[in-house]
Subunit: 583 residues, 2 copies
């Protein structure tokens, strides 16, 4: 490809509204262009990366028996009514009426379509296990698209669905996909990723894992044990809570706290530490508007995902004074007067504590010296707080690391939620009919592309792993007005293409500065510079992107075979890493 | 691939609602499954064909400098407001509001997105010509989806857009794409297709061509000259009208025709031939409701596409009595009293005619002996009738053939409609700024898949060309309960895969009848049968699909190399045909 004809311009300036590395660089290097909020076009270099990512994913999915199919983007309501998700998924799902007035939707995920395909297709236990997958466009109407390709509304996704006759069979296959995903990310060039226990969200089911690229710009909070490997999304992470005061409580005592409402204010007013308080966090259920109050130690934060699971409903903000006549800022664990059907929870962080300050359920007052064991002996403690910095691993006791990550893939055990809802059964050897147990497995292509940029790129530009680089070589002749340079550049370009290399040929007659800067911005793994100076020694200057300080000077006559070796070495390194030989 | 695990079941029965060959066979052979009206899932065999079609298209588009990109399926209204198509395209385009209330749409085509990508990307004449293309999902809310994959609402399409600084440059490139398309269809295995002049419809622009698979089940009417190669979509086809009565007219005379209103009734009543009448066909314009009357010879039919172009509006049905107080069935060319702004047209078929019968514009009466030259000397004749069987080629005078076809692709010269509307300009050498001239080029993947079935399949099932077959070989051991058969089959399967062949292995222990029938239904190009009988001679029976009557018996030891030669020969034949060496 000649850069003079390549669609996409490089720009120097950091684009407006772009704050994270991958977003800035992909825009600046001419890889993507925004069409709307969370909607992008891919220019040729990005589409080349995307196709290479897809190819690797296909190879790996096929290796574990995956059969590629294609589901529709647009589906009729009926299919999603069967699973109940037509109504349970809110505004994230796009709905519209077709010209006949029929309710249609844009698929956010394809469990229903997968079961629809397998119904009457797999009818016997002998037809299972089976895994089908597709690579297709999805649209999710995200409330807050951000970060370029990191969180978009429209994206290309590989989604896969497996069907099994027993939990054991699913477990075996799930592990296979688990390992295959690791191989996929390694082949794409990822090094800095972890697998964490995940939250199942709208998918249903119990076991799930998320593949997380560890990076400060990630939206997800992760909890990782550096010793035993325990790793989890914060939404479902557990921990050993830190030590606290378990000395016997004094007498309960109501104290005036006036306008001190937040934990900070109360602690300041009473001159105590937040860990000696029990705070109340209030919501209402999205399903039926019931009051939800969670009590937790004052220095802990509520984990809304866990709390939502306790009440089996999304949570909404509540104005407790307006809606439930409760004294906001003074709500406490004792003498709490709430309507029937309200949900009251006590977090594990409170277990066994003494001498706590809590609201008095009375304007301007708190109560001191509350004892969980003496005053609330019958409480059922649940885990509804976020893991805190400094807490210990429940498995090995090591201090946990808190970090952030981008979810680059996920795998779920779905159980029989969809097959049962849609009435899919297979005949078993004993003559009975059984709903197959499903797994589902997703990878967002564009998010992988952006995440690898987050991991690799430097302050000069993109750095692509050899396996997914748009082109392997950036051929960069300087001084194309020099006839010798021009003739040799043309010949090298021709020979490189004939040798099967993927070459981006900078055929512009512009300054060396522009060319070298662009080569770094665009990120091809190998750069070949020829100039009157290098040619005076009969060589080309070859550098690896990210390692420009260590050039090799290779005689022109040996260049093509040398480059072939370098390319293959890079690929071999990545493949060996993926095969676990150098882990 | 082992057929026991292949997703998709073969069925004997013709499915309900399926009437055409490709629809019936693709359903019966387990290639597709319907999800909604005009919406299908592709099962693994169909997806394999689709990917092979895409690969060939990519190769050919890349050869002529195409750069692959990806546009979004969902676009914001603003982009389509710029071209005016947000309002000009009617219910075929899906519109919806996103969660913020923003107007969004599903792309039916991507001219706007292509210009959006090129704006500020190609800024100089030196950046052009350039062609970008994508392979992506489209949704068009067709009023009458039908025929399986022939006319669907959701489909995968290759759409390409080229940008040029002059009409001459577009003409040169357009011809390149024209030829490339012929190569593509030939490589896909098509033999029975023609290129016809097309109608530009909603795309704008002037020159266009349609690639038509010639088949009785096609929705389009085609006009083809068997001598000089003139070929056209009926919508825009022209012809030399047949001879007629040009003798001098007698005196005009009003005659009572009573309830005779249609041309057939009037002719019967007056005992004359339809070619001696002038009939009126009435519409109103969709844009502003003006009356449109087209007069044409009684034995000709109106060409609504041509008429719509004359009035620059879609046409709607009209009740002339109710809405315009005209005597339906008695409307004629003389003394016609219509509101100002009405459109009156006279078809070429009436030119120079004498002694015509036409309505008297008076209930129950017609007029005889009307002379076009004497009574309507100032008429401007236009071409608004369909080409009729028996009419002659305007180029060479040969009698034209009328036939039907499926549109498998199209190419358009768009002019500057979109670049002008969206304000895209490039700097020219003389310092001026110019709107680039565009071409656009489409191929529907699924429709190609179904059309090749229409061309090739026989009454037993599908027949795939080697270049796009899901698998090249159907390995069909009979009597798998026989240990010798079973062992040799397993070994052959392994060796074939090792040799890089694509093999569908019928590993089921079912009757020979089921296996042979399924092999014919599924349509792989080569079938290899082994059985106790063939093995007793040390051979396998090899047949080509569609030519089962001429089996080859090949010694097992020579089978693999022989099959490799057969596969390569088939591919070579198709490639040679595509390269024009055996045309």
């Amino acid at each position: 490809m000649k850069i003079s004809k390549l669609v996409g311009k490089r720009v120097k300036e950091t684009p407006n509204n772009a704050t994270i590395k991958s977003h800035i660089l992909l825009l600046r290097a001419g890889y993507i262009k925004q069409v709307g909020a969370g909607i992008f076009s891919l220019l040729p270099p990005a589409q080349r990366v995307s196709l290479k990512i897809q190819k690797i994913i296909r190879e790996e999915m096929n290796k574990i028996g995956g059969q590629e199919v294609l589901f529709p983007v647009v589906m009729p309501r009926e299919l999603w009514d069967m699973s109940g998700r037509y109504s349970s998924i809110k505004e994230e799902m796009v709905r519209f009426k077709d010209r006949t007035g029929h309710d249609m939707l844009l698929g956010m995920t394809h469990e229903e379509a997968a079961v629809h395909m397998m119904m009457n297709t797999a009818t016997s236990h002998e037809d299972l296990p089976v895994m089908i997958y597709q690579i297709q466009t999805k649209f999710r109407d995200e409330a807050r698209p951000r970060g370029g390709l990191i969180r978009v509304r429209e994206f290309t996704m590989k989604d896969a669905y497996s069907f099994h006759t027993s939990q054991e069979d699913l477990d075996v296959y799930y592990k296979k996909v688990y390992d295959t995903y690791i191989r996929i990310y390694k082949r794409l060039g990822f090094k800095n990723f972890v697998v964490v226990e995940g939250d199942n969200g709208i998918m249903g089911g119990k076991v799930s894992h998320e593949y997380m690229e560890v990076t400060d710009v990630g939206e997800d909070s992760l909890v990782i044990c550096p010793k035993c490997g325990y790793s989890s999304n914060m939404e479902v992470a557990v921990s050993v809570k830190d030590e606290n005061d378990h000395t016997i409580a004094g007498e309960k005592e109501e104290v005036f706290t006036g306008n001190a409402h937040t934990i900070e204010e109360v602690c300041k007013f009473l001159e105590i530490d937040a860990k000696h308080t029990a705070k109340a966090v209030c919501y209402k259920t999205a399903t039926d508007g019931k009051l939800v109050i969670a009590f937790l130690r004052g220095d802990h934060e509520i984990n809304e995902s866990k709390l939502a699971k306790q009440v089996k409903s999304e949570l909404e903000a509540v104005d407790v004074e307006e809606e439930f006549s409760l004294p906001a800022g003074n709500i406490g664990m004792l003498n709490l007067n709430v309507p029937e059907g309200s949900h009251i929870f006590f977090d594990l962080s409170l277990k066994g504590l003494e001498n706590l300050v809590t609201g008095a359920n009375k304007k301007d007052f708190h109560i001191k010296n509350v004892s969980m064991t003496r005053d609330l002996p019958d409480v059922n403690y649940v885990d509804i707080s976020l893991v805190k910095q400094g807490e210990k691993c429940v498995r090995c006791g090591e201090t946990l690391n808190l970090t952030r990550g981008i979810e680059i893939g996920n795998i779920f055990q779905l159980g029989t939620k969809y097959t049962k809802a849609m009435g899919m059964k297979v005949n078993m050897p004993d003559g009975s009919a059984k709903e197959p147990i499903m797994g589902c497995y997703g990878i967002g292509i564009g998010r992988c592309l952006a995440s690898i940029v987050e991991e690799k790129a430097d302050d000069k530009g993109l750095i692509w792993p050899m396996t997914i680089a748009p082109w392997q070589v950036y051929l960069c002749p300087l001084r194309l007005d020099n006839e010798n340079v021009s003739a040799i550049a043309d010949e090298l370009y021709k020979k490189m293409e004939e040798a099967g290399m993927e070459v981006l040929f900078d055929d512009r007659n512009v300054s060396a500065g522009i060319k070298l800067t662009d080569s770094e911005l665009m990120g091809m793994p190998i750069r070949v510079v020829i100039s009157p100076k290098t040619l005076s020694n009969g060589t080309a200057e070859v550098t690896m992107r990210g390692n420009e300080k260590e050039p090799l000077f290779i005689p022109i006559g040996e260049l093509i075979p040398e480059l072939k070796v370098m390319i293959q070495d890079e690929i071999d390194d990545i493949e060996e890493y993926a095969n676990g030989k150098n882990n």
